[in-house]
Amino acid sequence: MNLKLLYFASLADRAGRSEETRDSAARTPRELYVEVAAVYGFAFTADRLRVAVNGAFVGWDHALGAGDEVVFLPPVSGG
């Protein structure tokens, strides 16, 4: 199914893009992160990231649906 991914900060730098649409078999954010981390060589382990789907924080085993917007959030540094 098609998923939309947004990338921020160092993840965007590493991926070389700020968004993409992927056709993925991942059923959860956990599976999706394994997939994209391998593609782009993301160094973060999942425990250092948070994940949001459609603009809200979710757990790593949240069930993904077609068309979902998925974001892996590296540690924040605002303020």
Partner: protein, 140 residues
């Protein structure tokens, strides 16, 4: 719907313009915090920086923090504005304002809000150093 308590700002923050939202005849205390862009961090000389936000979630999470503050502390009103985009040394990066009947509550709520904003809101800082390097900060 009430006015937003948390906002992202593309333009310089006008503190004086934010203040009337906090006025209350019963409020005897106002505490505020401002984060300014420093010329150094971790021993490196900083020239400028960029703040990047995930806007939809940053607005929702910031609004949730301000609502929690109003529920947890005896305050009359609380607001926060965080800049995004490019900032120079001395620029105002984030402002928090809290009004309350008593000063202890105003100080505690103000401190709690900036701590939570820094901990939870999806905003990232990219520092540009004097040596030409730059880097996104991802505190452990």
């Amino acid at each position: 719907m009430t006015a937003r308590r948390f906002r992202l700002g593309e333009e310089p923050i006008d503190v004086a313009a934010e203040r009337p939202a906090l006025d209350h005849a019963a409020a005897g205390a106002y505490a505020s915090f401002e984060g300014w862009v420093r010329d150094h961090n971790d021993g490196r000389s900083v020239r400028q920086l960029d703040y990047q936000a995930y806007p939809a979630l940053a607005l929702a999470e910031g609004e949730a923090i301000l609502a929690e503050a109003v529920a947890r502390f005896r305050v009359r009103e609380a607001r926060c504005v965080h800049r995004v985009g490019r900032l120079a040394i001395g620029d105002l990066a984030v402002w928090v304002g809290v009004s309350a009947d008593h000063r202890g509550d105003a100080f505690e709520a103000c401190r709690w809000i900036i701590d939570e904003v820094k901990r939870r809101v999806p905003i990232w800082k990219n520092e540009h150093y004097a040596d030409g390097e730059s880097g996104w900060l991802h505190p452990t």
